[in-house]
Amino acid sequence: MIRYIERTKAYYRAQGFEQDYQWAMNVETPFSRPARPLKSARITLVTTAVVEPSIPKPIRTAKSYAFSDAPADFDTAELSWDKITTHTNDRESYFPLQALNARVAAGEIGSLAPRFHFIPTEYSQRHTRNEDAPLITEHCLTDAVDLAILIPL
């Protein structure tokens, strides 16, 4: 297993950054049990893959999109992933919409929520904690979501 925190610190030090990034740390973890059995539950996806690359990275904020507007290929160029070893040409490898739809069609999952959600990979924990996460939570409550699968690249 790769220790990403240590590796990232070393990498940015090698780039001449003097202060290490402060990774989010929480001791207590909130926990909710699913409100409904899977067969009747409504599910959504949350991704860090970019839907609108025309918006400059520093000002991207969380946004919700209709599943019908999900791009065939998200933009992942500006995200930090292993570009030497792999590629993101298969959307299902980070946004398994077809697989979810198949399970809804088969009756295994109750329904797909109307919207999925983009959360930008933010340097600032404050933006995520105080702005992006609450916005997505509000949208999920509006959509009567029971279950969310979050898939950060």
Binding site: R3, A14, W23, S80, D82, R103, I136, T137
Partner: protein, 121 residues
């Protein structure tokens, strides 16, 4: 952090991810961990069997986790060779200079962004 906000609002969550140390440090309620290169947390590209197994594990963990911080590690492997683990953010004698240049460019761009108002308040 988003998972935490959702759980606090009563929505059950599971993260499918490949950077376990980061997710655990952040206090993630449920984690399905695929020890694969970053970029394809659900499974290798075009390997629908692996991807479906990950999705099954995620759906299962949503209902079986008994306490916060539950982790299920999947047995998936990228390849027989473990060499990929050295690639990501590698620092070698050959790229040290390049990394410093990358850092300088990144700092320059950050300043430029601020000057142009490209930042979130």
């Amino acid at each position: 952090m988003t998972a935490r906000a959702l759980e606090t609002a009563g929505i059950a969550t599971v993260v499918i991810g490949s950077a376990l140390d980061i997710l655990q440090r952040a206090g993630t309620p449920r984690i399905v961990f695929n020890d694969l290169p970053l970029g394809n947390p659900v499974g290798k590209p075009f390997d629908s069997t692996m991807q479906n197994e990950s999705l099954s594990a995620a759906l299962n963990l949503l209902y079986t986790a008994q306490s916060p911080g539950a982790v299920q590690q999947l047995p998936n492997q990228w390849s027989a060779s473990e060499g990929w683990r050295d690639n990501f953010m590698a620092i070698t004698p050959h790229n040290r200079e390049q990394l410093l240049l990358l850092g300088e460019e990144s700092r320059r761009q950050r300043l430029l962004n601020r000057e142009q108002g490209l930042f979130r308040p």
